[in-house]
């Protein structure tokens, strides 16, 4: 808890006055707290440069970073399954034109995980609460999410995760192995500790890709208190 607070205060001190924090700002911070993020490179600004070589592995994903965009998919601010340099350059050029873009984030693409949404908010009745839900369809349509007073410990994190209706997805379905409980609880505990500091009013890691041996934060957003 103390470590989370220290790291968060450091992050905030480098960005005085900034209200909304996006993934390129949060990922190094989350990595510092022991969470996994994809390997990536942030290309700042709107320069239409031509990439001739890159130290990341294909397939890749390119995302426009903009504080005006609420959903990258809806705003066309994300290109996935990039298989070569030609596709990469075309995606980078296109995304620099997205409204409010501050730059583009190029990342190695991960496939095959179970997508979860993990976060925290300040609730008017319970104060800081942690959130867990499955990503994609489940969270948008079925509203299958659960909350618990933050911070939670490892046991509380797993209780939270397994209290959703579709909890069977975590136990392994359709030939997928069960997700790593250690990695899952680590991500929930960390998010719950972040919201419990009261320094952010909201934080969402969505999606977090859950595998049998790790959990990787693919996108993140937060609002300063």
């Amino acid at each position: 808890m103390a470590e989370v607070r220290n790291e968060l205060e450091t992050l905030l001190s480098f960005a005085p006055g900034k209200k909304i924090f996006l993934e390129h700002e949060l990922k190094p911070f989350l990595e510092g707290l022991g969470l996994n993020v994809p390997k990536g490179i942030f290309i700042k600004g709107k320069k239409k440069l031509v990439i001739r070589s890159i130290s990341l592995r294909f397939p890749m994903v390119v995302k426009a970073i903009s504080r005006d965009v609420r959903s990258k998919t809806e705003a066309g601010a994300i290109v996935t399954c990039i298989g070569n340099l030609e596709q990469l350059n075309s995606a980078v050029h296109r995304l620099t034109d997205v409204k409010g873009t501050e730059g583009v984030l190029v990342e190695e693409m991960l496939q095959g995980g179970i997508e979860a949404a993990i976060g925290g908010i300040i609730d008017p009745q319970f104060g800081p609460v942690a959130m867990f839900g499955l990503g994609g369809f489940f969270i948008e349509l079925a509203k299958d999410v659960a909350f618990a007073p933050a911070p939670v410990d490892e046991a509380g994190a797993l209780k939270l995760a397994y209290s959703i209706k579709a909890a069977d997805a975590l136990r392994g379905i359709r030939g997928k192995p069960p997700v790593s409980e250690a990695a899952l609880s680590k991500a929930i505990v960390t998010a719950s500790q972040i919201i419990a500091t009261g320094l952010f009013t909201e934080i969402t890691l969505n999606p977090v890709s859950l595998f049998h041996d790790r959990a990787v934060v693919l996108d993140a957003k937060a609002v300063r208190g």
Binding site: M131, V145, A146, A148, P149, S163
Partner: protein
């Protein structure tokens, strides 16, 4: 002595605003207080020397002291009355309306401040107070010929709403459900549900608590108080009004958009072992189930349910209700099915629901239950006594099964005379009985947490 004993079981009460007439609230309350033996009553009335045969005080200054004061005077007078009661009592039930609920938040804040400085804990305002079957205390403004009181029993009941109080009382009276005590706290300027959970946790007459809530002031304190009940092995069943609020729809991030205060509340309840009723009927039926059943939702091992019926349609309706709640009915284990096929007619439906058909015999219920008991966590039994094969003898078979299990058993049965006899036997053996398959299914859900 426990903290709230003076409120729930006072030896002396001062009634400010007492009246000699049952047409007035101060008269109804006086009449209801007279029902408690060994209670010293000090009615306060500026005109009469005695009210309903009880010597009255002209003013509060003449009061030697009382465990509890009840105030039924217009809202603007209440703060002054509390000042006069300073040093004479530690608890006051403020029945008077006309505070925050009527837009006079200033009056309520003033009363709160005065009570705090006078060292008086308040219940209300705009409330009816306490009904305690253990001590015989009844502070309600409802005449007992209009709202019949439930009998003595094991359910603790807290409510923010007086309307819900009277509806639950009518239901409890009609169904013979007993309560330990009920507390109505209205505007909740002082004591609220959290204080009553703590009280009921330590009350030996209370086995389970039901609670009707409109708002929660402090979620963390709510969970802490509910935790005291759980620590004593006493289940809590909650009905929360105001489920539809959209919440923080303008929030930027996903988490904020999804939260909404009801969503958070409901989700947190589930993780803390507090059961939620979805409507008033489920709250009342659930209370009845908790009161009668030997099973404790806090100790439920799982949610695997067997439906055992002699009528296909009723079984399917029960199964549908479970499906709506996301509870599945697992099929019979293969070995059990093989053994049961050896013992029972082959035209029975060997599934879940298990269908004994119209050609059922009483003893078949026992055969199926004994064989399947180890494989399920709860049992919904449907016995439609329109057929000859179901007789009064079924009561003994169900009672014998109930005697040997701590798992919840709920019965749905009709209302003919044979059914009445079976129902009475079942209830005496710890099996709650309901008149529709869906209500029985909901209660089994409550009993499984």
């Amino acid at each position: 002595m426990k903290v709230l004993d003076n409120l729930f079981a006072p030896r002396s009460v001062c009634l400010v605003g007492a009246s000699h007439s049952e047409d007035k609230l101060g008269g109804v309350v006086l009449k209801n207080l007279l029902g408690k033996r060994d209670l010293k009553i000090y009615p306060v009335n500026p005109v009469y020397d005695s009210l309903m045969g009880v010597p009255a005080l002209r003013e509060i200054s003449a009061l030697p002291g009382a465990d509890l004061a009840i105030i039924i005077r217009p809202a603007p007078e209440v703060s002054g009355i509390l000042k006069e009661l300073k040093g004479k009592t530690r608890f006051a039930i403020i029945v008077s309306a006309g505070f925050s609920e009527a837009g006079h938040d200033d009056l309520q804040q003033e009363v709160k401040k005065t009570a705090a400085s006078a060292g008086i804990q308040i219940l209300g305002p705009n409330c009816m107070g306490i009904y305690n079957t253990g001590s015989g205390l009844d502070t309600f403004i409802l005449p007992s010929d209009r709202v019949p009181r439930p009998k003595r029993g094991n359910i603790g009941f807290t409510t923010q709403s007086g309307a819900v109080l009277s509806l639950i009382f009518e239901y409890f009276h009609a169904s013979g459900t007993g309560i330990s005590a009920a507390a109505h706290y209205g505007n909740a300027a002082g004591l609220d549900e959290c204080d009553f959970y703590s009280y009921f946790a330590g009350d030996k007459n209370t086995k389970a608590v039901i609670s009707y809530l409109e708002s929660i002031r402090d979620g963390r304190r709510f969970l802490e108080s509910a935790g005291k009940l759980a620590a004593e092995g006493k289940p809590l069943l909650v009905l929360k009004a105001g489920k539809g609020h959209a919440g923080q729809s303008a929030a930027f991030s996903h988490t904020g958009r999804l939260a909404g205060s009801y969503g958070v509340f409901s989700s947190v309840l589930r993780q803390f072992g507090i059961t939620e009723a979805m409507d008033l009927e489920e709250l009342a039926d659930g209370a009845r189930g908790l009161s009668v059943s030997k099973a404790n939702p806090l100790k439920a091992a799982g949610r695997k349910i067997l439906v055992l019926t002699n009528g296909g349609g009723a079984g399917v309706l029960a199964a549908d209700e479970f499906a709506r709640r996301g509870i599945e009915l697992p099929p019979l284990p293969a070995e059990s099915e093989r053994l049961l096929r050896e013992k029972l007619p082959d035209f029975y439906g060997f599934g879940n629901p298990f269908d004994l058909t119209a050609q059922v015999r009483d003893e078949d219920y026992g055969i199926v239950l004994d064989e399947l008991h180890p494989h399920y966590d709860g049992f919904l039994i449907i016995a439609l006594s329109a057929v000859r094969g179901v007789t009064e003898g079924l009561a003994g078979i169900l009672a014998a099964f109930s005697l040997h299990t701590v798992k919840p058993v709920v019965l749905h049965i009709g209302t003919d005379p044979v059914a009445g006899t079976i129902a009475a036997g079942a209830e005496a053996a710890g099996i709650p009985v309901f008149s529709t398959p869906e209500r029985a299914a909901k209660v089994l859900g409550v009993l499984l947490g």
